[in-house]
Every structure is written in structure tokens, then in C-alpha cells.
Symmetry: C2
Subunit: 416 residues, 2 copies
């Protein structure tokens, strides 16, 4: 087949998957659209959201999310997972034996807070970070007595999730998802300046991301008022976005550098091996590959998370942060090829450590949470970079929280 | 000098230090006595504790704690550290520039909650676990907006604490306190049964500890009523306890197995090397050495934490848990010398992992917290045992929370 027909089939395949996702969501329940975390935050504040937790929305979220993630557009699944966990717990509470829990609002919200924790934890096999993240994004005041109940649920979820990986023999035993193998000299104290720099830039990148996302949503609303026929055609906009994403990921063009799944990319970026050992990063200049990967992903994600499908924001932002961090790490390695303290041969720059710092800092800035630092330790199975990660996350949060509402808050503001 | 005079000097030295600690606390401020966490919990609930945070109590706590810990009796310092951090923040808020914070109760409690986090974090260089532990032991409802402020303070504290270690060149760079070096095969899935067993036993040991501590305190109160002259002589009881502890730690007797500081003992117990490489554990049967160390420490700690000095409970209990866990781990190693899966040479039992699980489970059971699991990761710098640790901590908590109030709650109940 000719190059053109290959390209057309590639684009149509992605568009087909996304089209079904959009239609299923449209027909079954438009409540399944988006991350679900802003709505859960509203519910946890004591408001009712009719239809948000019923069976139609459940099916729409599951089917829509599976197809959208399968299509390859850069969206996350942690928000819809939280939504699904809450719908499952809502369904369980409708059973006669648990009806008394449902009728007591205090108990119902405690169950939902545990469900939110489970949703995040299953996603990353990160029970501690999952509980903390879910508290940060959904709660305003938190009852400490609910705390260990949420932990219990989250550990069960994470344990089962990783145990399945052992049973299906992709892993020998229970391990972290993105196991890193850094040596025991993680960083020199003077590298803290570079880590703080990563935190500062990630703070500003977070502001830019939230601002751009708002601009895109408002521009679409303006277009819908100006050209009412656009509002009728719900599939036109997703198909255009999908066509652009498919083109960028097409292997015949720059897809070699763009078209691999987030799990693989994060694994490479966190790795202690040089990037150019991997085929995907084998560009004459790895810095250029990282820059292209970062900027195109940034723009694609801004558009993709605004589509009318179940779509989270965490993993794409996490990936962007990891890319930016790795970029800084590779620059540092170029600058100090023998480490900062040249007298000590074990003191070398580890670019993978910068990727971890960047991932935690950018996802922390966009979601206004500090628990992303815990999630990265649980994801990588290494805690050596704890202080750089914490400091970068705090700096990024400080900058982002002073300037813009969090991604989830901004959605609540746009919707109301 | 004869063996007897050596022994007398040994006992008198310990007694002298403790005597000054008791007298300083008695004369300056009896508010410095005990852990301080129960009182902070009361303050965080909105009650006033006159004199608990003033300058006299500050000096009494600092001097009393230094001398008591120096004397070698098995007490912790995390409770008094929390108390000191709160007194420092209270003092700062008396300055004219911060007076407005002090006058607003909401802001004042937010500062105290950050101070509690700093107190725990500085102790272990564990910012995340410190924040979570301080929330669990002092708060009932927690404002999520205070969360990252507490993190910020805790990271600053932990960073400075570890940075001082770099500057004073005891460490090459910023690392965890009890760095472990386990291989990347942490445990076989079927070992989970043994980890759950550790959790169950630690839950019951926690109940026993809290119950015995209450019995000792009530027995002393009964003695004071029966024999009023005992109440006059505040130094008699501490001197008797100190004499027993000093005898047990005396190098000429069994002190070789008992008389080394908790930091060294925890380092050995968590280590992946066999214990009998260390002189302190070089007994014909290491299991006997562990049993003796555990049981004598258990009894000594029950008495020591009830003395009229500034004394925490966390580290002694943590050490006991580590000893019990290591005991189970050594038994498992005897039972399965080639690992559970004999076909896989890399799958061997790591007794140090059991020590980590036991330490987290027992300290979690006594304090009714699950964040001890986070503290152990930050202390050891390894997160591979996350699921066994979490599950054991949850099991131990479940057993302890259903039966007795936490150690801190039981003190509040005894005092009121």
C-alpha cells in the first residue's frame, strides 16, 4: 500500500475509536465527560449532582474512557478512575444491606472519600500518595477518623492491582510500576539550585497550562455562539483534534519521537541509562528530541483534555513534567560531565532524578497538590530524591497557587 | 578499680544525670513532664493550657530531655520535640510583628499544626511522615488548606537537619537516616502471611504496652495514697528505675546485648547483613539475644516513659517493634534458608525487611496511626516493602483501635 493510504488508515483508525467514544458519551450520559474530580469535589462539599453516579454514567465512563485512551490521544485516566470508584461505591450502597450507610450523609461522604482514594491508588499502585492526593483535590476539611479507612481501601486496591501483575506473570513479585535503579549517591547538595530552578519553571508552566486550557474552552464557547451550526455537530471538533494528533504520531513523519505510550515514555525518562540507548530518542541531539516531545505534547494535551470524553489530566501533565525535568538533567550532564564535585568519582549527575523532580513539580502545580511527591516515590520505588522533589513541588505550588486556581477549580468556575 | 566500684560508678553516673533532669523539671515547670503530644492534642481542640508553652517550660524541656536521653534510659524524644517546636512558634508569635497571627485563633492553631509537623520531621528527617503523623495524633478535623503550609515547614526542618549532617561531614550528601541496601527482590507474595502475622502480634503487643503503662501509673497513684511519704520524695522512684536500667545495661553483666543506643540497634536490625557480624548480637543463638533484648526493653520502657521527665514513647516502641520483626525474620530464614521459591536463587528471606514491618506495625499500634509506614520509608530510604508494611500497620491498628485508646489518648484519660 502507498504511503498516503497507510497514513489515511492510521488517522481513520484513531478517529474511529474516538468517534465511538464521543458518541457513547453523548448518547448514554454527558455526565461522564471530563475528569470527574471537580464534580466529586462538589459532592464532597455536600451538594447533590443528579445523575452523576448512576448506571448510565458508569457505562458511558467505562466504554468512553477505554476507547479514548485506546485511540492514543494524550489524556489521563486517574480522574475517570476516581469517578468510576465513586459510582461503584454508590451502587454498592444501594444494596439493601448497605442502605443505612447511604441514608446517613456523614457515612456516605466517608465512603466516597475512601472511593476517591481507591481510584487514584489503583491507577498508580500508590496507596499513600493516592489517599493524600484524593484528600487534597476533593476535601476542604477532612475528618482524621476517616483517614485510616481510606488507607485500608487504598491498600486493598493497590495490592490487588499489583498482585494481578504477578499472576499474569508480567512481574516476578510485587514491585513499583516504574522501578528505578539509581545508585546510592543521588545528588550533590549544590544541585539543589538546579532542582529549585525546575520547580520555578514548572510552576510557571502549570500556570500557562491552566490558562491555555481556559482560553481554549472559552474560545469554543464563543465560536458556538457565533456559529450555532458548530454546536449541532458534536463530532467535528474532536475529529479535527484527533486528525492533528494522529498526524503528529504517524510513524512515517515524526511519530518515531512522538508516538509511544506514556508508560513507555515515563519509563525511559526516569531511567538511569542514557536516553539515546532507546530507539525513540535516537536523534542526533537528544535535547532537540526532548524539546519537540515536550512542546507538541503540551499543545496536544491542552486541546485533548477539553474534548467531550471521559479524560483525566494527571498522566499527560506528569509526562510533560518528566520531559522538562529530563531536559534540564541532560543539560546539567552536558555542563558537568564528571559531576559537580570532580574529586569524587561517584558524584555524577543523574538526569533521571531531574525527570522525577520535574514530573512531581508540574503535576503538583497544575493540580495544586503536594502529594504528587509521594506518588513519584511509590511509582519509582526509590525515595532518595525526597528533598529535591519536595522542595521543587513546594516552589511550583507556591508560584501556581498565588496566580491561578487549580485545574479542577478552574473547571468548576468555568462550568458554573 | 574493682568490679564493684566500676559498677557503682556506672550506676551513679546514670543516676546523677537523671537526678538533675528530674530536679530541673520539678523546679522549673512540671508541664515539661511526659510526651507533650496529649497536651498539644488538647490545645488543638481549642482548649487553653496555661503555662504549657511558656519560657520556663521551654528551658525545663530542653535541659530535662537532654539529660534524660543522655542518661541512657529508654525514652524517645519525638514528643518533647513537638512540644519544643510549639513553644518556639508560640514565642515567635509573641513578637510584635507576628502578634496579629497570635490573636486570631484559627491562624494560631494553623501555626501550631505546622509546628507539630516540624517537631516530628526534625526527629526522623521524615517530612512527609512527620506531617501525616502530626495530623493523626493531634487533629480531629484538619483543614486541607493548612496542609501544604505544614509540608513547607516540615521540609525546611528536615532539610536543615540533614544538611547539618553534611556540613559536619558525618554524611557525604543528603541521605536517609537508616539507609538500607536491600536488593530489588524484596519479598515473595506468599511471605505476606508472615507479614500479616507480624501485624497481628504487634497489634496485641501494642495493647499490652498501653495496658501495662496504665497499670503502672495507677499503681503508683495508689501507692501515693497509701503511703503519703512517697509523694514527698519525688526522686526515689526515678532512682530505683534508673538503678535497674543501669544494672541491665552494665557491660560486665548482660550490657553487651542491652547497652547500646537505639540508633545503633535500629541500624543493625534493619540491615541486610546477618546480625552475628555485629559484636552486640554475637550470642551463640541470635534468637535468644533478640528475645532478651525485646523483653527487657519492653519492661524498661513501660516504666521509663512514666517517669517525671520529658519523655517520648515513639523511638523505644519503634525499636521494640524492629526487634520483634527481626526475630520473626530470623525464624523465617531458619525455616526457609533458600527462600520460599527454591527454584529462584534471588528469592531469599530478608530479615531486615521484617524488622521494618515490625517497627512500623508496633509504633502504629501504640500511637493509633498509619503514617508510621511512611516514616519507615523516609527513615530507611527504601520503599520496596510498601505493601507488607502498609498491611501489617493496618492489621495492627485494627486490633489496637478496637481494644484500647491510643497511648496519647490514654494519658489524656488518666490525667483528667
Amino acid at each position: 500500500p502507498s504511503a498516503v493510504s497507510k497514513y489515511v488508515v492510521w488517522v481513520l483508525y484513531m478517529q474511529g475509536l474516538l468517534l465511538v467514544a464521543v458518541l457513547v458519551t453523548r448518547v448514554l450520559s454527558t455526565q461522564a465527560i471530563g475528569s470527574g474530580i471537580p464534580e466529586m469535589k462538589t459532592i464532597m462539599r455536600g451538594f447533590e449532582m443528579p445523575g452523576f453516579l448512576n448506571m448510565r454514567t458508569f457505562i458511558a465512563t467505562i466504554v468512553g474512557l477505554t476507547l479514548s485512551v485506546g485511540s492514543g490521544i494524550p489524556i489521563g485516566k486517574e480522574g475517570p478512575f476516581v469517578h468510576v470508584a465513586c459510582m461503584v461505591s454508590n451502587g454498592l450502597m444501594q444494596l439493601p444491606c448497605f442502605k443505612s450507610i447511604y441514608l446517613n450523609q456523614h457515612h456516605r461522604l466517608a465512603i466516597f472519600s475512601a472511593a476517591c482514594a481507591v481510584g487514584v491508588s489503583c491507577n498508580f499502585a500508590a496507596p499513600i500518595g493516592g489517599v493524600m492526593f484524593s484528600i487534597e483535590v476533593t476535601a476542604t476539611y477532612f475528618a482524621v477518623s476517616n483517614y485510616w479507612r481510606a488507607f485500608f481501601s487504598a491498600v486493598c486496591g493497590a495490592f490487588l492491582f499489583r498482585l494481578l501483575a504477578v499472576f499474569f506473570t508480567t512481574e516476578y513479585t510485587i514491585t513499583a510500576m516504574f522501578t528505578t535503579g539509581f545508585d546510592r549517591f543521588p545528588f550533590d547538595v549544590s544541585e539543589m539550585i538546579a532542582f529549585v530552578f525546575v520547580g520555578v519553571v514548572c510552576g510557571f508552566l502549570g500556570i500557562l497550562f491552566i490558562w491555555l486550557h481556559g482560553v481554549v474552552i472559552r474560545f469554543r464557547a464563543w465560536l458556538h455562539i457565533k456559529f450555532p451550526f458548530l454546536q449541532e455537530s458534536v463530532v467535528l471538533y474532536p475529529m479535527i483534534i484527533c486528525c492533528i494528533v494522529a498526524t503528529l504520531q504517524y510513524p512515517g513523519l515524526i511519530g518515531r519521537y512522538m508516538g509511544f505510550p506514556p508508560k513507555v515514555a515515563i519509563d525511559h525518562l526516569f531511567s538511569s541509562d542514557p536516553l539515546d540507548h532507546q530507539d525513540q530518542w535516537d536523534h542526533p541531539n537528544v535535547l532537540v528530541a526532548l524539546c519537540v516531545f515536550f512542546s507538541l505534547n503540551f499543545i496536544m494535551t491542552v486541546f485533548a483534555v477539553g474534548l467531550a470524553i471521559p479524560a483525566g489530566v494527571f498522566v499527560p501533565v506528569f509526562l510533560m513534567g518528566a520531559t522538562f525535568g529530563r531536559l534540564v538533567g541532560e543539560l546539567m550532564l552536558d555542563w558537568f560531565p564528571n559531576g559537580i564535585d570532580v574529586t569524587d568519582p561517584s558524584s555524577i549527575i543523574i538526569p533521571g532524578g531531574y525527570a522525577i523532580v520535574g514530573a512531581a513539580a508540574l503535576s503538583g502545580a497544575v493540580t495544586h497538590t503536594v502529594s504528587t511527591s509521594v506518588i513519584v516515590f511509590e511509582l519509582t520505588g526509590q525515595i532518595d530524591h525526597i528533598l529535591p522533589v519536595m522542595i521543587a513541588v513546594l516552589v511550583a505550588n507556591l508560584i501556581a497557587q498565588l496566580s491561578v486556581p487549580s485545574f479542577y477549580e478552574s473547571i468548576i468556575q468555568i462550568k458554573n
